[in-house]
C-alpha cells in the first residue's frame, strides 16, 4: 500500500469537490421521487393534492388504511347510529362518512408478486447456472450460435411478442395463473442469467473441479462443493437482476393477469380509480412494494462486494 505510487493520480481537492457534488446531485435526483412517495403515503388525500405542495404536514395513516381496505359511503345518520369505531382505519373512514367494508386485494396481489418474482428468479438462476456451466466447461456443438440465440431473445421489446403470448397463454390455460407468470419471467430472465453466469464461471479455474474429481468426487459433486460456492458472488448478482425485472414487470402483468395471479404493479394504479384520486393509497402501495426489493438488494450487496476468490490463484 504505497501512497507515493498513487500520488500521480491522486485527485486534487478541486476534483474531489466536483466529483462529490456530482454524486450528491445524482443521489438527490434519484432519491427525491422516492422521498416524495414516502411523504405522500403519510398525507391525507386533501394534503396530497394541495397547492403549493405541502412539505410540512400532519402525518396520517389514511393512505395505508385506504390501501388495505375497501370502504362504502354511508349517510351521516347511519354512521352516528353505529357503536363507537373499533380501529384507527374505521375512525378515519367514518370521518369521511364511510365505513370499512372489508380488506382490499392489496395483500393477495402483493403475495402474488412475491411468489412469482422469487419463483421465476429461482428457476432462471438455477437453469442459468447449469446452462452456463455447460457452456463454460464442455465442448458444446455450435456453442457460439446457441449463446447468441439465447441472448437474441432479449433483443426485441417484450411488447413485440405480447399478442402471440397472450393468445398462446389463453389457448394453454396459462392466462392469469402464477405458474404461467413464473414460466414467462423465467424464460425472459434465463438468457440474461446464462450470459452473466457464464462470465463468472469462466473465471473459476477448472483445476478446482479437476482436483476434486481426482480426489474422488463426481463432476456433479465437484460442481456443488467447489463451483457453486465460488460462483456465489455471480449468482447473487444475477439473482438481483432477475428479481428486479420480475418484481417490476408491468406490461405482461397487465396483459396476462387480472385476478387470481395479478401482481402488485398492475394492481396499484387501479387503486386510483376507487373513489376519487387517492394518491396517498397509491403512494402507500408503492412504498410497501419497494421494501422487499430494497431488502433483497441490501442483503445480497455484501455478497456482491466480497470478492471471495481474490488472491487465491497463484499468478
Amino acid at each position: 500500500m504505497s501512497t507515493s505510487a498513487h500520488s500521480v493520480v491522486e485527485p486534487t481537492g478541486r476534483t474531489k469537490a466536483i466529483a462529490g457534488s456530482l454524486v450528491i446531485a445524482y443521489a438527490l435526483i434519484t432519491m427525491l421521487p422516492l422521498v416524495w412517495i414516502f411523504l405522500t403515503a403519510l398525507k391525507t388525500p386533501p394534503d396530497s393534492i394541495s397547492y403549493p405542495p405541502k412539505i410540512v404536514f400532519t402525518p396520517s395513516l389514511e393512505g395505508f388504511c385506504n390501501l388495505f381496505t375497501t370502504r362504502s359511503r354511508q349517510t351521516e345518520d347511519y354512521i352516528k347510529s353505529l357503536p363507537p369505531a373499533s380501529g384507527t382505519c374505521e375512525q378515519i373512514a367514518r370521518a369521511r362518512n364511510m365505513v370499512v367494508a372489508g380488506p382490499s386485494n392489496y395483500v393477495p396481489r402483493f403475495w402474488n408478486s412475491v411468489v412469482i418474482a422469487f419463483g421465476s428468479t429461482f428457476f432462471a438462476v438455477a437453469l442459468g447456472t447449469m446452462a452456463a456451466y455447460g457452456f463454460s466447461r464442455f465442448r458444446v456443438p455450435l456453442a457460439d450460435d446457441l449463446l447468441f440465440f439465447i441472448l437474441s431473445t432479449r433483443m426485441m421489446p417484450p411488447i413485440a411478442v405480447a399478442i402471440p403470448i397472450y393468445l398462446m397463454y389463453r389457448e394453454l390455460g396459462l392466462s392469469d395463473t402464477k405458474f404461467g407468470m413464473i414460466l414467462l419471467y423465467t424464460a425472459v430472465n434465463v438468457s440474461l442469467a446464462v450470459w452473466l453466469l457464464k462470465g463468472f464461471i469462466d473465471e473459476i479455474p477448472r483445476e478446482y473441479e479437476e482436483a476434486a474429481m481426482i480426489d474422488g468426487y463426481t463432476r456433479l459433486q465437484a460442481f456443488r462443493k467447489v463451483v457453486l460456492p465460488q460462483a456465489a458472488t455471480g449468482i447473487a448478482a444475477t439473482a438481483i437482476f432477475c428479481m428486479i425485472f420480475a418484481w417490476n414487470e408491468y406490461a405482461f402483468a397487465v396483459l396476462l393477469t387480472s385476478g387470481e395471479a395479478q401482481t402488485a404493479p398492475p394492481f396499484i394504479p387501479i387503486i386510483i380509480g376507487e373513489g376519487g384520486q387517492d394518491w396517498p393509497a397509491v403512494a402507500a402501495g408503492t412504498a410497501i412494494f419497494l421494501v422487499p426489493i430494497v431488502v433483497f438488494t441490501v442483503l445480497l450487496r455484501k455478497h456482491l462486494l466480497r470478492g471471495i476468490t481474490f488472491g487465491a490463484v497463484r499468478k
Binding site: Y208, E210, I214, D215, K225, R314
Partner: protein, 336 residues
C-alpha cells in the same frame, strides 16, 4: 504404491501434438522427474496419467491395471497443480480434509482430524489451520497444496511444477522436504519441472522431454554425463554447456566424425598465456564460491569455471584446451 506404465501415448490439441508416442515406465517407489521447457508437454503428460485428458492413442496402466478409459476418481492418484493452489472458499483445515471427505471414501471425522493435524505438523502450518486459504503466504499455500496430495495414500503422486512459484530459499527447503517425504513413504512420484536443479536433486531418474517427445531417460548422472544429443546436453549443467565447432580448440580426444564438441566447465583447461593467444577474457563473474570466466575466442564465446581467487582479469589472454569433451555429429547426436 504402484508402477505407472505409459505405452505409445499420444495427445493432440488441434494440430499441435502436445505429447507424442510417449512410452515410459515409472517403477514402484521411484521418483521420476520429467524435465523440459515450457510448452514441452509436461503438464499434458501428467493430465493423461491423472485421467483429466484421454489419449488419442496408446495405453496407460497404473499398478498393472489398464486405466486408459477410467475416470480420474477411479485411478487412485493425487495431483498437485502448477497454476492454482487452494479452494478459496474453505479454511486451510477444510482444504486438507477435502480429499478425505469425498463421498466415495467415507472417512470418519475423528480420523480426518487426526490425519490433518499430523500433516499440518509435518508441513509446519499447525497454527494456520483455521485461516482462510486466501490468508496465507505463497509458501504456506504451496505447503498446503502439497499437503492435500499427502493427506491420503494414493498409488501414485503427480506433481506439476509445485515449487515453481516460490522464492529460491523456500524452493530449496521444500525440495529437501519432498525428497524426505518420498523416501519415508516409499511413494511413486511423477514430477514435472523445467528446473534442472529440482530434476538433479529429486529424481531417481530423469526423463527429458522436448516438443512432446521423450528424448532420453536415465539417472541424473547418466543424463548429465552421457546426453544423447545437444538438446539434452543443454538442459543440464550450470553454467550451460559450451557447444563449439570441432576444430576450434585442441582436444585430447575426439571421436571420428565429430562436428560439434560439447565442453562443460570441467572439460575446459584455461591457462594464462602471452599476447599471441586466441582467447580473451571478456569478464569475470564472481559468485562467491566460484567465478565464471566469459571468454571470447575467434568470434565464439564460452564460459569456464575458475577458482574464486583467480588472478585472471578482464582482457587477459588465455590458452584453452579441452579434456574429454562430449562429441556430437552433424545432426547433434552424441557419438563419444
Amino acid at each position: 504404491m504402484a508402477e505407472i506404465r505409459l505405452e505409445g501415448v499420444t495427445k493432440r490439441f488441434g494440430r499441435t501434438a502436445a505429447v507424442e508416442d510417449l512410452s515410459l515406465t515409472i517403477a514402484d517407489g521411484e521418483f521420476l522427474v520429467l524435465l523440459g521447457p515450457t510448452g514441452a508437454g509436461k503438464t499434458t503428460a501428467l493430465r493423461l496419467v491423472a485421467g483429466l485428458e484421454r489419449p488419442d492413442a496408446g495405453r496407460i496402466a497404473i499398478g498393472g491395471r489398464d486405466v486408459t478409459a477410467e475416470p480420474p476418481a477411479a485411478r487412485d492418484v493425487t495431483f498437485v497443480f502448477q497454476q492454482y493452489s487452494l479452494y478459496p472458499h474453505l479454511s486451510v483445515y477444510d482444504n486438507l480434509a477435502f480429499p478425505l471427505r469425498s463421498p466415495t471414501r467415507r472417512v470418519p471425522e475423528a480420523e480426518i482430524e487426526t490425519t490433518v493435524r499430523e500433516l499440518a505438523r509435518l508441513l509446519q502450518i499447525e497454527d494456520k489451520l483455521k485461516n482462510r486459504a486466501t490468508q496465507l503466504s505463497g509458501g504456506q499455500m504451496q505447503r498446503v497444496a502439497i499437503g492435500r496430495a499427502l493427506v491420503r495414500r494414493p498409488s501414485v503422486y503427480l506433481m506439476d511444477e509445485p515449487l515453481s512459484s516460490l522464492d529460491a530459499k523456500l524452493r530449496a527447503d521444500l525440495r529437501l522436504e519432498l525428497k524426505r517425504i518420498q523416501v519415508d513413504l516409499g511413494a511413486t512420484i511423477l514430477y514435472v519441472t523445467h528446473d534442472q536443479i529440482e530434476a538433479m536433486t529429486l529424481a531417481t531418474r530423469i526423463g527429458v522431454i522436448d516438443r512432446g517427445r521423450l528424448v532420453q531417460v536415465g539417472s541424473p548422472r547418466e543424463i548429465y554425463e552421457q546426453p544423447v544429443d545437444t538438446y539434452v546436453a543443454q538442459r543440464l549443467g550450470q553454467p550451460a554447456i559450451n557447444l563449439l565447432p570441432a576444430d576450434l580448440l585442441p582436444a585430447n580426444r575426439l571421436a571420428a566424425g565429430t562436428r560439434t564438441v560439447g565442453a562443460r566447465t570441467e572439460h575446459i583447461r584455461v591457462t594464462p598465456a602471452d599476447g599471441q593467444a586466441r582467447g580473451r577474457v571478456k569478464w569475470v563473474e564472481h559468485l562467491g564460491d566460484q567465478s565464471h570466466l566469459h571468454i571470447a575466442l575467434d568470434g565464439h564465446s564460452l564460459v569456464a569455471l575458475v577458482d574464486p581467487d583467480t588472478a585472471l582479469e578482464r582482457d587477459a589472454a588465455v590458452d584453452i584446451t579441452l579434456a574429454d569433451p562430449l562429441c556430437f555429429d552433424a545432426a547433434g547426436r552424441r557419438i563419444g
